[in-house]
Each structure stands twice: as C-alpha cells, then as structure tokens.
Symmetry: none
Subunit: 224 residues, 4 copies
DNA sequence: TGAGTTAGAATGGCACCACCCGTC
DNA sequence: GACGGGTGGTGCCATTCTAACTCA
C-alpha cells in the first residue's frame, strides 16, 4: 500500500496521522519490516518523534530513500509524510507515486479555503477518487466546529473519512514519548487509538476498492 | 512601531497574533490609518480574514507594499505577518526591517525543538534582545501543557511574554467573521481580547525600552 | 554440557544463575563430581559463595583450570561464570568454548541498550541460535517492569527463556549461607528454586536440540 | 566541589547516585552551567540517561574532558561517575583528583567483602577521611537487609552516610525518562528525591569540613 | 435581546483497593 | 496467620470550556 499524507497548512496533525496510520498497518500486517514511513516534511517531525522513542515501523528521511531507493521498493506498506505547502507539481509527483492520498485538516474556517485549491489541483490530474480528507483535532461536544466542518465539506462534495480524529491530549503525550497512542499506559489513550483504528480500516477497504476498480464498479453497479 | 510576527511552524496562531496586535495598536493610537498589517505568508490568511469582515486597520499583501513602498513608510505602526518556515536569510531581512520580533508558538513538545534553531539564527545576528516568544492556544486548567512549556522555555533562557493567549473558541469565530475578538458580541470573547490587550501593553513597553536603551539603562542605573 | 553465563552489566544475578543452573544439572545428573563451575569473574563471587557453605558441585577459579585443564575436560557439565564486561574477543572465545550462552539481565530500561551491543557481537560470530536471555530479579505484581521488558525483548527478536527468575529474598539468603535456594529451610525458598528448575529444564531441552540440529529438523519434518 | 562516585560492583545505583547528587548541587547552586558530570564508566549509563531527556546539568564522557580540560576546570562542581571495577591505581588517581569519594553499595552480603578491599586501597593512600559509603536500593520494611548491612558496616568502622537510598520504582522511571526523580510527576517520586536531598546536604557539610579541617577541629574542640 | 443556568466532555489530582512480599 | 509497606489500577471529583436552554 502506498499512501501520501498531505496538507497545505501546518499543525493539523499531519505527522500524527502518518505515524498512526503506519502504526495501524504495521499492526495489521504483523511485522515491523514491512512498513516504511518516509518523512518528506522539512520540519522532520515524524523523524523527531521516531527518535524520541520506539515506533513499531521504520521511519526514514527523504534523503535516505534517495540514496537507497530499494528501501521504498521493498516496503510492503509505504507512508509518506509530505512537506507542508506543496506546489501543484509536487502534488502531481506525489499522486503518481501514491495509490491514495490522505489530507488531514482541522475543522477551522480558514482550512476550507485552502482545501479548495488543493481539490482543483487534484481534479486537474483526474485523480478525484484517490484523495480523502480526514478531520483531525476535532473538539468534543458541545463544540460545533466538528459537525459544522463535516457538513460544509460534504455539501461541496469533498470526500471525507467517516471517522474523525478527536482532539485528545494523548496525541501530545505520545509525540513526546515517541510512541503510538496505543502504547501509552493511559486508559484514555486507547480512545485516541480507536479513532485511528477506524480510519485505518476505512483506508484499507478504500485502497482495496481502488485496486480493483472495475470489480468494485460492477458490484456497486449491479446492486443499484 | 515595526513588529514582525514569525514562526517556523504553521497553525500556531501567527495570523491571529498579527491581527490582534495590530488591532491593539490601532485602538491605542486611536486611528485606523496609522496601522498597517502586511501579510507576507503565502497562505494569505490575514488578508482572507480582513476580506471577510472589517478590521480596524489596513491589511495588504506583500506585493502591494512592493509596488507602493510609501504604504509602509507612512504607517505609524507596521505589523508583518511573516511567511511560515523562513530561511535564515529571510529571518535576517526581517530583523533588519523590524524593531522587534514576536514568535508565537503552541505549547507542544515538538515546537520547542524548532524554536531552538530559530534562536540560533537570531543569536548569530546579535539580536537576542529583539525577539520574544508568545505562548498561544494554551488550554485551560487542568491541562498542564501551558505551565510546562513556560517552565521549559524559561529554563533554557527563552524570552517570553508574561501573558499567554488561551485556547478559546472566540478566536475561531472572530476569524470566521473577519473581526477582532473584541468586536464579537459574545461575552467570552472579551476574555480573549484581554489576553491580547496584556500582550499589547507588554509589547509597547518593550519597544519603548528597545528604542531608548541608554535612557533605560541610565534610569535603572540612576534609580539604584 | 558446556554453558557460559555472561552479561555486560554487574549485579544482575550472574553468579546466582551460574550457581543454580550448575545445581540443577548436578541434581539431574545425580552426582556432584560431574558438574564443574568455573568462576572467571574478577570479583570471584561464585567462589566466595562456595567457600561460605556447601554447594553440590565443585567451584574453581579460572587459574585452577589453567593449571589443570583436565578439570574441565573431565567434567560432564561445565558452567562458566564469565567476567563482567567482556570484550568482543572474550565473547568470541567463550562462544567457541561453550555450546550455549545464557545472558541474565534485570528488567531495567538501560539493560536493553547494552544488550543490543552484545547481540551484534554474537550475530557477527554467526551464533545467534546459541544464546538466550534470562530475565532475573523480576519484581512481583503489580510491578510492570517484568512483562514490559519481556515484551520489548520479544519485539526486537531477542531469544528469551520462557521462565523469569523472580526477585526473592531467598537468593540473598542463599548467597549468604553459601547454599542453593533449594537447600534453605524456608518455605518460600522453594518457589525460588522452582524458577531455576524450569529454566534448567528449558536449558537441557535447548542444548539437546542444539546438539542434534538435523535430527531435530528431521523429527519435526517427519511429523508433518 | 569535586566528587568521585565509585564502586567495585555494577548495578548498585552508581550512575543514579552521580546523577542525583549532581542534580542536588545544580539545584543548590541554582545554575545549570556550574555543575559537570563526567561519565567515566565504559557502559556510559549516565550519558545514556542524559541523552534520553533533560538533566539540569551538563553530562560529558571522559574523552570530552580529555580533549577539552577546561570543561572540568571551569565547572564549579564536578561529579565523576567512575568506571566499575577500578584498579588500585585508578582509585589512587581518582582520590588525587577528588575532594571526596562516595561509594554506593547495595545491602548485600557479598558487597561487604569487596568493600573491604577498597578500604584497604584507600587506607594505603592515607585518605580514610575522604570516602563515605552510601547504602542504595535499600528495600522497605520488613526487609532486614538495610539495617543489617548498616550495622555490619558500622561495626567494622566503615564511614556511612546517615541516610539510605530506598529501593523505589521511581528511580527506574526517572532513568527511563532521562530526568531526575524530582522531575517526575509521580507523588512517590518525591520521597525518592528526599533521600538524595538529605545525602546531598550531608555531602555539602562534609566537604566543607574537609576543606577547613583545622577550623572544624578547632570549633568542635572548642565547643563553640 | 441579553443574562444566567445547565449539560456534556476532557484532563489531572486524590483516595481507595488488590496483590505480593518478608518478618514476627 | 497477622501486619506493614510498595506499586499500580480503578473510580471519583474539581475545574474549565462550549453551546443550548430558560427567563426577564
């Protein structure tokens, strides 16, 4: 599986998303060796987190892959934490590389504006079925920003993951410790892990359908 | 007064800080014309907010100032919302332009790492007394991230504003409406405005001391 | 059987392990004469314990074996309490001498780091199937260090004995008296002995499989 | 203040003692720069702990001091974590360097034997008033090993710190985190810190008396 | 329309309890 | 067998925020 995690704005949980999706895939596939997270972001946050503790998969910087391309070829699952504000060309390159693209955004009013530009770029490439937006850092009830943003995005036809990532302190603690939220001893951290588990399941199902488009189309077409 | 608001990471309240400090200065000086906010960030978030509603000062993009440099010269107070991850050269240019630099960061573990790099760049320029860090989006009690981050920053000798900006929904609402939190009808928004008021007071006092270093030294020396 | 007990750190129960494995083998083989414990550690702790009381096997210092090599040749079972922080060459020598190597470590965070270096040395010698780690001084419930360390070691693929040695006062008392925990009048000491009994059984089984690799392979192959 | 922490056996809390005494001195003197911990032990455990987190003083390896001797000269307080089983010559060198020597040992029967050899070496150097033994990892009541060991050591005239360091899980947690027990959020960790605080106070008082032997003798002699 | 009240969620500190160990 | 102590897990509570509801 080749997944790119991309977003125009920073501080939206991009590294957190890349790390936890990689962790989900590593847990599902069962082996450390088969998952590779490539950190392309200049801030190198994913690499920093990896150095602080122990993640159940390998994290490398962009330059390591450039020197040793077999790293990426041999990985069963490849997650790319893409740099912050990519140009249209960079988006194009990433979409060629990846099977799917995950775009985390926070439920903020300004985030939507920038998302529209990204959608234009992707549409121009004819890859509208290959990206999906993930709402992250969603505050709890009775905050309305989460449902509001979801409604707005759905209204304008942005494809969304069915599960949101909640704003939970556990994600901060996990980044500090250099581990997945799953591996924190805190009870509450398990709820944080549930969010990414659901997203991971959805991701796997989605990639499967992307890989067999005609079969999928035939099935859903036949059911209609 | 010439102030640059800068940060390496995105999503830390940079535009919010630039807008509200400009708003504070506009309120103090009493007239709209005398304050200019220059949005240098490629995301143009400050400009977007300005277009949505009505801010009590003028907001222009970088290119407008390039075309019409008198804009900046004539402004009594100049606030620059600097682009996201500036290079050392860009930092140098900004420090030449500005009297002081405000660096907003969120109380996150990873933010500190990147801050150290910024400090190195500034130290190399010999402008250590010209920057100050502002903690933004600080969650309320019983969260410990705020006090924790403050303690860590003080320990390693980072200059901090004495007041933190709390994480309040009012800032989101204000950005959506295109106004200052001061101008929201919500009661809670007033508390958000208080935070920036205190920071603004501190800023004014700081710039005054920066402008008259010998006077300041003489005064404190004479008072002893 | 030729067993080397080795560890990089001190105070991890190395002598205790050497003594009790020797005691187990002496009990199984039935005669005192057939088991020899060679104390190579400069602290000579095993020899000290032996001199204090009565162990059911012979304990000699390194120099005695150098003077009289037939001692080692004639022993049916040879246990070596190796010196504390061996160099790569010493490890190589020991691995040539021994059929298997037992590495006791305490469940401490720092112990793992040093263990990785040892693993590298052993891997370089191509003897990865000839060493096994024994968790010692494992505190009781509700301490989590024991299970935690076991999980970490298993995750990174370190071969472990299935049974841990608990942290029990009986081991201290036995060392003071110069006897095996088996020979203490205390009831609780029996539980301490059980731990080493299980490890001893595992050791015997392991050495058997090491000696007849093809037979073992054939047997498991034939069972299919 | 120049302190050497030394012991013949490993795993007795030598690094923990060096780190926490350094931490105490850093806290008393109030500044990070004035305390230097030199890790001479080949296992480099103190350096490892320092790299994991943030200690309020500088930790360097032996080689760094060799390259840059001014490091040690400029430090107000110098703590040396000495290598594990030092020879008589190494002890001599250390005693020449240090004002006082702290010898942590665990309350184990075997530890006493090795301690006697160390005492002989020190006596031969005529520095009997410059070393003191610290009981570490003392288990709680109703274990008797702590008081027992203290009684034995006092009987044979070994100088002891008046306070023992208890065996508390907090020390393991602190080493994992790379911080002092003082900086752990756990309540129980504060009790661990109290132990070293008392030892630190005793150490400061002791060094003061060592520096002004006649004054001290005069004062205690005069009764004033 | 504006002020006060209330519900829900999240974090973190506190108290309590289970469990094991060693001694008397 | 009782007792004291350490550790870690569970449950409870205080505090804060937001948004909806009620009331004047």
């Amino acid at each position: 599986m080749r997944v790119v995690v991309m977003s125009r704005k920073g501080g939206v949980g991009k590294s957190t998303t890349a790390i936890h999706l990689a962790g989900y895939l590593a847990g599902v596939s069962g082996g450390e060796a088969s998952v590779l997270l490539v950190d392309t972001d200049p801030s190198r946050n994913a690499l920093r987190v990896a150095r602080r503790g122990r993640l159940p998969f390998r994290v490398v910087g962009e330059e390591e892959v450039d020197e040793n391309p077999s790293l990426a070829r041999e990985a069963q699952h490849l997650i790319v934490d893409m740099r912050g504000s990519p140009s249209a060309e960079e988006i194009e390159d990433a979409m060629r590389l990846a099977e799917v693209m995950v775009i985390p955004i926070m439920p903020s009013g300004l985030a939507l504006d920038t998302l529209l530009q990204t959608r234009r770029d992707i549409k121009r490439l004819g890859r509208e079925d290959r990206y999906r937006v993930l709402l992250t850092a969603v505050p709890p009830w009775p905050y309305r920003r989460g449902p509001q943003a979801r409604a707005q995005l759905e209204e304008i036809g942005i494809p969304l993951f069915g599960t949101d990532i909640r704003r939970l302190e556990a994600f901060e603690a996990a980044a500090d410790e250099g581990v997945l939220v799953r591996d924190l001893p805190d009870r509450r951290a398990q709820r944080a892990w549930e969010d990414y588990t659901r997203v991971g399941e959805e991701l796997v199902e989605w990639v499967r359908s992307v890989r067999t488009p005609d079969l999928h189309a035939a099935r859903s077409g036949g059911g209609a």
